[in-house]
């Protein structure tokens, strides 16, 4: 069994009810597992929500987490996306103060990571970049020295490449 501790992505189909997220979060937290990122939204079926969460764990621990989540009445399905061919995306919004000195560098970074400027207000701009976790990390590291005002990240969303 895989003993390496690494980031694992779980996709959960759950009943679209108010306290389901608390049950899922409590099940992980109560047993000492940390949620690294979390994304929740509706699916094509309005009665069902999809939760994409990531956690850092080895394979035996992940199996325990999956089994505990499956015990929840409102959890219908748990899929370990780490094992499956999956498209993964994360989006980041970054607000930056524009100066004569950093403008060109910012433009280059936006271009490199396929981002775009969402708004431009006076000397502030908000940049949107999406990509896999690695891209987002790299973009963030490049933007940091140029003076980030604030930022917001979505956490990972993921989808199996085929059914």
């Amino acid at each position: 069994m895989e003993r390496e501790k690494k980031e694992r992505i779980l996709s959960l189909l759950v009943s679209n009810k108010p306290d389901v997220l608390a049950r899922v979060a409590g099940t992980l937290g109560g047993r000492g597992y940390n949620i690294e990122t979390l994304c929740v939204d509706a699916t094509l079926d309005p009665k069902v929500s999809k939760i994409i969460l990531t956690t850092i764990a080895d394979q035996p621990t992940l199996t325990k987490i999956e089994k505990q989540l499956m015990k929840l009445i409102d959890v219908q399905q748990v899929t370990d996306l780490t094992k499956i061919a999956t498209v993964m995306r994360e989006m980041m919004l970054v607000r930056m103060k524009l100066t004569e000195r950093n403008k060109a560098d910012i433009a280059l970074i936006i271009d490199t990571f396929g981002g775009r400027v969402v708004t431009l207000n006076g000397d502030h701009c908000v940049i949107e970049i999406s990509g896999n976790r690695d891209d987002i990390e790299k973009a963030l590291q490049s933007l940091k020295p140029l003076g980030i005002d604030d930022m917001s990240r979505t956490g990972i969303i993921a989808l199996e490449r085929t059914k």
Binding site: D19, A22, R23, G26, T27, G30, P60, T63, K64, K67, Q68, M70, K71, L72, I73
Partner: protein
């Protein structure tokens, strides 16, 4: 016709076959109590909400049916938490109904409002808040279904006052158990187990509470007898296999028998059924059953590979798994000769002979084990139900009373709840009015739900309480003696009520003795006195429970009281 939520609730409970509710009224459940006043369902008024939940739990454990408790909001609801957690850890099917402030006031810190859904989320199998009266029937039906299906457990249903007052059409909506079949073992696995049994020279069955919850005792016996495999059961599993059978090894683990622990450490095949490898059973995990291949049957997949790594995992309810093993054994005409088992059973017999469960009898002071032995001799049979509190009394009751029938030993295993035994005995007695129900208690734990004496007297519930009174929190004191150089910090309980006078004050009979010669006479008198009875046995103050495995130690390294045994 449209009827009120409170009426729908009672109808729904009747639909589920509820015969008795253990409860305590209060502001927001007045509408429900007004309905109960009509007397359609029997209600037992407890004296504390914790008692209501333990009583429902005891009723469920004794009868196999779902136990029901009803309490008010706020403190009424929060008082149920220990009882719910207790049922959760032992997988006991109960449904707890809590009142709640009206939906319009939820979240405003209203009078007697607590977020009981949030509080009990981690200690229930599931919980519901009914926010619309139209959802009530279905929710009640679903709650009972969840409580008793798969791995059973407690379910809480929160009932806001306005929902109980609102009116709706009552329609029968029920969740049928057959909709979701229990998981069954794949036949390939059953063949594999059969092969392993054929190959094994030193096989062992470790059975747990799942056998009792799944009603699989008969199947377990059939399998053990056909294969001549010795059986040990966890605390939760006592009674599933007869305590008087030659293949019986007693309980394993921290206070298990010497021979059960030795068998675990020496066996080459362990067939574990309906148990979850609690740390009190396994001791040090690395050395647990280290010579064995392990088959694990459990209805809950999360129990498998949780603590102990399993060679052959089988997700199935115990009854169908055992039935399929038995069918295969029969089809294959599987037989084991006495000769084939001679070495293994001979080795076990030697362990049994060398280190039996024992204690030093005294003519001067009552040994607590002697009380249990005498009680056993006076009451053995299927018409006796024993409940216990928690601590030394519980371990002695597990060691020195022999349980031949399932659902006759009710004890707080997972949570270790002091104060469980007496209200649980009340619940069990209501399930079986004709049986003798005895609560084996300590002087510490009996005081934790002593208020229920009034309940027992009010409803003439003839529960017999045997107090092993050593004036200490005995098990904690034992640990202090063994691991804290006899510094008895806060465990002296000498300041306790006079239990005979207390019995008198509540209006029940009370007896006491401190003389070994009088033990049998007091038990005879107490057990034959009608109504609830307290028997106070003033026992040896510093008697310890042995064998004992040090916490975290390998289970084959036991302290046997005076002589060390390391094997």
């Amino acid at each position: 016709m449209k009827i009120k939520g409170s009426q729908i609730l009672i109808q729904a409970l009747k639909q589920e076959g509820v015969e008795v509710i253990f409860g305590y009224p209060g502001g927001v459940v007045l509408d429900i109590y007004d309905e109960l006043h009509k007397g359609d369902i029997r209600h037992i008024l407890v004296r504390h909400e914790q008692g209501a939940v333990h009583a429902a739990d005891g009723y469920a454990r004794a009868s196999g049916k779902v136990g029901v408790a009803l309490v008010t909001s706020g403190p009424g609801a929060s008082n149920t938490v220990t009882g719910i957690a207790n049922a959760h850890l032992d997988s006991i099917p109960i449904v707890v109904f809590t009142g709640q402030v009206p939906t319009s006031l939820i979240g405003t810190d209203a009078f007697q409002e607590v977020d009981i859904i949030g509080i009990t989320r981690p200690c229930t199998k599931h919980n519901f808040q009914v926010r619309r009266v139209e959802e009530l029937t279905r929710t009640v039906s679903e709650a009972f279904h969840i409580a008793r299906s798969g791995r059973p457990g407690p379910v809480l249903v929160d009932l806001p006052k306005d929902v109980m007052n609102a009116v709706a059409e009552y329609t029968l909506e029920s969740f049928r158990d057959e909709d979701e079949p229990q998981p069954r073992p794949p036949s390939k696995k059953a063949f594999q187990v059969l092969d392993m049994i054929s190959e094994a020279k030193k096989p062992l069955i470790l059975s747990g509470g799942g056998i009792i919850l799944g009603g699989a005792s008969q199947e377990l016996r059939e399998m053990a007898w056909r294969t001549k495999i010795p059986v040990t059961s966890t605390l939760m599993g006592l009674g599933a296999f007869p305590g008087t059978d030659p293949l019986w090894l007693g309980m394993p683990g921290m206070h298990g028998t010497y021979y059960a622990n030795m068998v675990i450490s020496h066996c080459d095949l362990m067939i574990a059924i309906g148990c979850r490898f609690d740390d009190r059973v396994t001791g040090k995990i690395d050395t647990f059953a280290q010579n064995a291949r392990i088959v694990h049957v459990d209805v809950d997949p999360s129990s498998i590979n949780k603590n102990v790594m399993i060679d052959v995992p089988i997700v199935s309810d115990c009854k169908s798994a055992l039935a399929s093993f038995n069918r295969l054994l029969k089809d294959k005409n599987f037989t084991v000769t006495d000769d084939q088992r001679r070495d293994w059973l001979g080795m076990i017999d030697e362990w049994k002979r060398n280190v039996p469960l024992s204690y030093c009898h005294s003519e001067e002071v009552i040994k607590p084990q002697f009380v249990i032995e005498t009680l056993y001799n006076l009451t053995k049979g299927e018409d006796t139900i024993i409940t216990t509190e928690v601590g030394q009394n519980q371990m002695w009751a597990a060691q020195f009373y022999k349980y031949d029938h399932p659902n006759t030993f009710l004890s707080s295993g997972g949570l270790g709840t002091m104060g469980y035994g007496f209200p649980a005995a009340i619940g069990a007695q209501l399930a079986f009015p004709e049986k003798l129900v005895v609560d084996i208690a300590g002087d510490g734990s009996i005081q934790m739900n002593i208020q229920e004496l009034a309940t027992a007297v009010q409803y003439k519930i003839p529960v017999k309480i045997v107090i092993l009174n050593n004036g200490y929190l005995g098990m904690v004191r034992q640990w202090q003696e063994l691991f804290y150089e006899k510094r008895y910090s806060q465990t002296d309980m000498t300041y306790a009520p006079d239990f005979v006078k207390l019995a008198d004050a509540y209006g029940l009979a009370g007896f006491r003795t401190a003389k070994p010669a009088e033990v049998e006479e007091v038990l005879r008198k107490g057990l034959s006195t009608p109504g609830p009875v307290i028997m106070d046995f003033q026992v040896d103050r510093e008697e310890c429970v042995y064998p004992m495995v040090k916490p975290g130690g390998p289970i084959h390294e036991m302290t046997l009281g005076g002589r060390e045994m390391v094997n």
